[in-house]
Assembly symmetry: C2
Homo-oligomer: 330 residues x 2
């Protein structure tokens, strides 16, 4: 089994854009995002169309930033949490680019980065847009309860971010390089509380990060920052415990979780942010911008997804997690 891909001709992140909702804009990372929405409905008739419009705008902005037309990009790889990934596929329809639909739950963005980098490295694509989105209102009503119900949330529940991140990879130019990627395995330690995503995903993240480090013969010290997707505050603690238990050195101050960074504690987001758009927007905003400023040189970016559906949960199934990882070099 070869899980880790080494890109011999590392693709460049030619452009990246992020769009977030009002709550995310009010959080500690607000200043790092490109677009702060005032209207989470984006003038659309439904939350689903709003999320799709967010994807279209974000992709459009990334293309504009690189001076590329949608007709010139070789592929859009992406997905979201909506059933049948309608937010992304409806955006792909408007963009007109060849579309590779992915489903990796909240790990979709990093899954897309790893795949697109492999395709560009091989010369199969010259350019690719990678996109992932989530919207609190589409996810809440699809996975949990009708919004109008105002259901109380347990403390371990995460808050689905209203956010989208798009990165444009190209085979040449200047910018952050994607140099290594590790594919995820589905791992399930029998967590069946559908509100406890951090616990369900932490073992998969541990598996992807240790796999990535081992296969590339690197240590945590080789990176300025190790970024996880949306474990939240509880899941991040569990991940640190897994490293400690395995006797692997993981400096706590260098492990940053996007979900645990997106909101202030007093914003009532409970365990932290989640959703495909969480890691996508935070990495396209905060992480990549800090890399471009020279504050970070080497970043190990992972995303994690909980591969559950309301049906599997209602049938009493536990929650399988998956995580992918890529090395970004400034």
């Amino acid at each position: 089994m070869r899980r880790t891909l080494i890109y011999r001709h590392p693709p460049i992140i030619a452009a990246h854009r992020s769009i977030v909702g009002r709550k995310e804009g009010d959080g500690p990372l607000g200043e790092w995002f490109d677009v702060l929405l005032k209207d989470d409905l984006l003038g659309q008739k439904s939350w689903e169309l709003a999320e799709s419009e967010m994807v279209r705008r974000c992709a459009r902005d990334a293309l504009d930033a690189a001076g590329l037309s949608a007709g010139a990009v070789d592929a859009l790889l992406g997905g979201d949490l909506n059933n049948q990934i309608i937010a992304t596929s409806f955006a792909a329809k408007k963009l007109g680019a060849p579309f590779i639909g992915l489903y990796g739950a909240c790990a979709t963005f990093v899954e897309g980065l790893a795949l697109a980098a492999a395709m560009i490295d091989a010369g199969h694509l010259d350019s690719a847009l990678i996109s992932a989105s989530s919207h609190f209102c589409t996810a809440e009503r699809q996975f949990r309860f009708p919004l109008e119900l105002g259901a109380q949330r347990p403390p371990q529940a995460s808050w689905t971010a209203t956010a989208c991140g798009c990165a444009l990879l190209r085979n040449r130019g200047e910018g952050i390089r994607v140099t290594q990627g590790t594919l995820g395995r589905v791992i399930d330690l029998n967590i069946s509380d559908a509100n406890h995503m951090g616990a369900a995903m932490a073992p998969a993240v541990f598996d992807a990060l240790t796999g990535h480090l081992e296969n590339t013969r690197q240590r945590a010290d080789d990176f300025d920052l190790i970024v996880t997707g949306d474990l939240g505050w509880i899941g991040r603690d569990l991940l640190l415990r897994l490293f400690k238990k395995a006797g692997i050195d993981m400096p706590e101050d260098r492990l940053v979780d996007c979900g645990a960074s997106l909101y202030f504690r007093e914003q009532d987001a409970h365990a932290g942010g989640s959703g495909c758009g969480c890691v996508a927007s935070v990495s396209c905003g905060w992480i990549m911008k800090r890399m471009e400023r020279g504050e970070l040189r080497r970043v190990l970016l992972s995303g994690s997804g909980a591969m559950l559906s309301p049906t599997s949960s209602q049938q009493g199934q536990s929650i399988p997690g998956i995580s992918y990882a890529v090395t970004l070099e400034g």
Copy 2:
């Protein structure tokens, strides 16, 4: 935009397996499938677990046929129609192989073939399993009505096949080669009848097939067979009309649709078979076996998906279609 990928080191289909339900086994292609289920529930507690077990068995059988363990395969690429692709991700959990979750609706199998071939061609993977499944009972209750209701179906409705197909691609050995692949674009000609999948997908199939032929400078005559996924009887007629209107020669006797081939007319499948498992099982059964017997040398295989969700339909949105194509050479 580069939609068509030419594999310089074409991967080999080292093994392929198909599993189908009772209705599919009773159809005209029954003898070509590897496993005919007597129990569509496969001894499981729910239809969703049954579909997942079908994926696991089919993948296991394909690995066994090639003498490979699940731990030795570099990746499983696949998906299904269930929300959050739970049938495939739960099977991936049991197999333990690195997992690349895809969502291309009923085009998922060919999407996976094109992607996996690119990854193997590039040397990023040595082997990959491609899987796609569907189950009448999971799809019917998720997309349409409770099974118990016995709702009447309009004549243009297709019948979701209970079926799974798995192909194992490797970078060396003897067998059918995957030599070219064309990525799909999301195309929507404003069909909003969620029962009329053939009409919604035909324009996307036309776009993928003509794109594939143009970009590789081939004509229909260069192939012994041109296979479409699940347009059904009506969708196949519409596709032929699109070719005629465009003045492109497409010999009617050489264009075979998996959905239109899977059932006898008297089996009450209305417009024909559909579902991710339709093109997957028919190509892994009928098509690839005929190629191995030497009856077919060059096949243009396409799959088509309708990227709708019950939510998008209920919100009055039309149905976007997508289609991918690959060249198989015996």
